[in-house]
Amino acid sequence: MNELFDKLILRIVFTFFILGLLYLYKYAHSFLYPSTRQQLFKRFFPIKNSPDTLILLSRVVGIGIIFSQFYFFMSEGFLYALLDFFLEAAIGFVIYLASIYILESIVLFNFEYQDEVLKRKNYAYSIISLSHAIGLAYVLKTVLAVANHSIIMLIFLWLFSIVLIGFATKSYSIISKLPFNRLLVQKNLGLAFSYLGFLWGWILIISSSINNELVEIRWFSIQVILKIVLSLIIIPIFRKGLQVIFKFHDEVEREIVIDNKPENLEKTLGYGIYEGSTFFASCFLTTVITGHINFGTFYPVF
């Protein structure tokens, strides 16, 4: 009975801790977006600004994702378990917010949160921000699991994954036919869905690549880089394969993309959804190839 009670207390502590972190996020929000310092301390009207609701709740979900793989090690006692948890959770939370800040500074450096969300109600911006919040949380969850309670390794892996994600986001302009900045100004949802599929695809690849046992830093880094290079080889095969099998017409006229005419919006939306979903599907299938095949002892290592 005692241990059941212990576990119940821990679960309740965990619940309140997450609520506490969400409360802290209100303060962190004013650091992330200094121009909107008082925004979250006033009454929030979701009906008036749904893009803002989307961003806020995506970060709430993101915090939940990070803590979805936490462990309580009770072997050294209840208090030590709580101490470990608080320490790791606090670091995880800080790192998550820092990741959001870094990624948004890389991708959305031309745009201001206050202008795009609060004033212009730009859904495309909020969907891109949502993709960052959920994607980064997913990677951080893997990083926390791989670091295995070592704060030094957690920081090393975090920096490593942020560098990889940074490079990945920069490749969007090479892979996509949709001009990012121009269409984001036009609040184009096609661009938002295309970017969402693109980023989440990369998140899957990076997360699957770093999800290795960390015993030796050198060997771990080699494995991650090899998996990413292997993914770069496999992704185009799946993309091309999907196009050929389902006879996708992968063409969009530049005029349609650039012009902000209402009749073109549906076309760009369709193309953006196609581009994002094909890339995401290709990346997901790639992770199946790069990460989940077990060859057993067929290839022995001496």
Binding site: W219, L226, V229, I233, F302
Partner: protein
């Protein structure tokens, strides 16, 4: 065209990186043929026995040989090496034989495949010739080296003087020697008792497939029965 070249470059980078950092490549030395033995194996008296030959890989094969290296009076050591397909095939029949020897003091070496322990037979520092009741002259190691036959996996085998004489002739002509009655080598009666031959795995036959497919029809028991 640019995309294709970039793609080919990526594949080459992947293969190059994988090869450079592959544990098998790094930790398993490569021996192309018997000429490398003298530089690769150090110490004397030295006897290098081939204890297993096997290959890995489905489409592209890697060839391995496993040696039992016996230097001086130390415990024997098992060394696995990668080798060339030609050298691997050439030595398939020589499993259980000594492929390389370095004689004590003289720095003289030999790569003629001979039965294991041939380095010590006839060397009076290690043993002597004895007559059996049948009148046959056989080799016996001194008391201090009585564990040697076990190292060479001889079982009940005792080298006779005829064996020794024939071995010397083969050594002189640099021809493999499998024993007077082919006791050693892949098909040798003594070798078969002591060494595995991984390359000679039985091909997948009907009976094996039926056993293999059985797992697809396994159903766990309803309730664990108490012992």
């Amino acid at each position: 065209m640019n995309k294709i070249s970039l793609y080919v470059l990526l594949i080459l980078i992947y293969l190059g990186l994988s090869k450079s950092f592959s544990p098998s490549e790094q930790r398993t030395p490569y021996i192309i043929n018997e000429k490398v033995y003298a530089n690769f194996f150090t110490g004397s008296p030295l006897s290098v026995m081939l204890v297993d030959s096997f290959q890995t890989g489905f489409l592209i094969k890697t060839y391995f040989q496993k040696y039992k290296v016996f230097v001086g009076f130390k415990s024997p050591e098992i060394v696995t090496v990668r080798t060339s397909p030609e050298f691997w095939r050439k030595n398939l029949k020589n499993v259980g034989l000594s492929l390389f020897r370095r004689y004590e003091g003289k720095n003289q070496t030999s790569t003629t495949p001979l039965p294991p322990g041939s380095l010590y037979i006839g060397n009076l520092a290690f043993g002597s010739w004895h007559y059996l009741d049948s009148g046959e002259k056989v080799w016996r190691f001194h008391r201090a080296y009585r564990h040697f036959p076990k190292i060479f996996a001889w079982n009940e085998f005792q080298p006779s003087f005829d064996f020794f004489e024939r071995m010397k002739i083969h050594l002189q002509h640099q021809q493999p020697f499998y024993g007077l009655n082919n006791e050693f080598g892949e098909d040798g009666s003594i070798t078969k008792l002591s060494f595995t031959n991984s390359h000679d795995k039985t091909p997948v036959g009907r009976s094996k497939i039926s056993i293999h497919l059985k797992k697809f029809f396994d159903v766990p028991q309803w309730k664990k029965t108490a012992n």
